[in-house]
Symmetry: C2
Subunit: 257 residues, 2 copies
């Protein structure tokens, strides 16, 4: 950081000399409001929402939502896309999504209650959902566990796709070696706040999620992030990863450690 010049001896305050952590404060300020935080959490589904939808979700007037979106877009966290009379917004990129995830995970209820038997909507979300662009919920965790168990993914020194894993993905028609070599990590762990275990994110996670939706393994329920695993999906998961229905519903699976 180039903030602190040589402050040891003379205190040179009196006025803010340069802009050091001001950028950090500015960024954090975007998420420091509950309404904006709700917006971003909702947008973690990776899709575009309209301003009105977000306003209703957060329980504020459309005018208020409009102002918040100005801030979020202006801050680079969101991008917008006007279509007719609608203003669609989405998270700007995967880095921004990761930031929100990370914050949310860290902010997750510290005395997290193990058993959350919520409404039926909540259980559906807990079972399977998307998290920005990858699979989360019980489904995401179970798949990640299966990949680890079969040596397709290795966690003990990070989160890396193995050689076998590359072949496995290739068999699905997903070529991980041909990735655009961008900044985005190929395999990344995402710690979700309902399941307390990490699950696969990053390029590999996104590719897997896309494939799952394309191949009809699962489909979206309603207009939210929740997913439903189809029959073909169940069959595929069993064939490819040995995942049973009991695994998916969390029947006999307690705490494996």
């Amino acid at each position: 950081m180039m903030d602190a010049m040589d402050l040891p001896a003379p205190a040179r305050p009196t006025r803010r000399p340069e802009h050091a952590g001001s950028r950090l404060a500015q960024l954090a300020g975007l998420l420091a409001d509950e309404t904006r935080a709700r917006f971003c959490l909702a947008l973690l589904d990776g899709r575009a929402w309209t301003a009105g939808e977000l306003a209703r979700l957060a329980g504020v007037a459309p005018a208020t939502a409009s102002g918040h979106l100005d801030k979020l877009v202006g801050g680079g966290l969101l991008t917008e896309e006007r279509q007719g009379r609608h203003r669609y917004v989405r998270l700007a990129d995967s880095a921004s999504a990761q930031l929100v995830e990370e914050l949310a995970a860290h902010a997750g209820p510290p005395p997290a209650p193990r058993s959350l038997r919520g409404s039926s909507a909540n259980t559906a979300m807990a079972r399977a959902r998307t998290c920005y662009d990858h699979l989360a919920g019980r489904l995401g965790v179970v798949i990640t566990d299966a990949l680890l168990e079969r040596g397709l993914l290795q966690q003990d020194t990070g989160f890396a796709v193995t050689e076998d894993g590359l072949r496995w993905f290739d068999a699905l028609g997903v070529d991980l070696t041909a990735r655009p070599r961008g900044r985005r990590p190929p395999a990344r762990a995402c710690l979700d706040w309902t399941e307390r275990r990490p699950h696969l994110a990053g390029v590999a996670g996104a590719a897997l999620c896309r494939h799952a939706l394309d191949a009809g393994w699962c489909e979206r329920i309603g207009s939210r992030r929740a997913l439903r695993v189809t029959d073909t999906g169940r069959r595929a998961l069993l064939d490819l990863l040995g995942i049973t229905d009991a695994d998916l519903t969390g029947e006999s699976v307690e705490a494996p450690a």
Copy 2:
């Protein structure tokens, strides 16, 4: 500690029906103030600072700093340790440090000026410093590059210590296999905002930094995060990783693609 006081369930959302993203907003709010942001950035050196030091650093009155520290400690981002008339604070844990890092990296100046005209203090920091508990600056990047080159670390599918790497660390007297199996990732990439390249963090990064200081490879300059590589350090880096003085000063090392 006595932290089990007020965080579990305040249950007074004032007006919002449920508490959804309010925890996120609360956490982000801690870093949404420039003074508090400066505090946290300074604390990224992993050491404990007194309230007065932080006040002078940020250019605010001691009374103001005191209040900010109350908030940061209360929010769980910092822990405090009273010693006589001093109030020492430090980042609560590596997770909190990672959070600040991540935010800072994302908030890094988007129109980042390539040329960092630095005072001598700045160049020293750019050359070698600590970042919470691991090595950063040119030194950190060079070591990480060397580890990658020699196959001790692998990045192309994450950031993982290889089998050879485990043996290499073991030869240093650092046993990475005996790690406490905690939540902390063994190997993690930390993207610093002066060097724009990732360098080794996580348990392995911390162990390496500790060893470097213990073995006298480098020593702290002044009271800040800056480090100086000693002669024995130079010799060790050359012997173990083939790192030359030119590498360290960044002489002929431009952009390796």
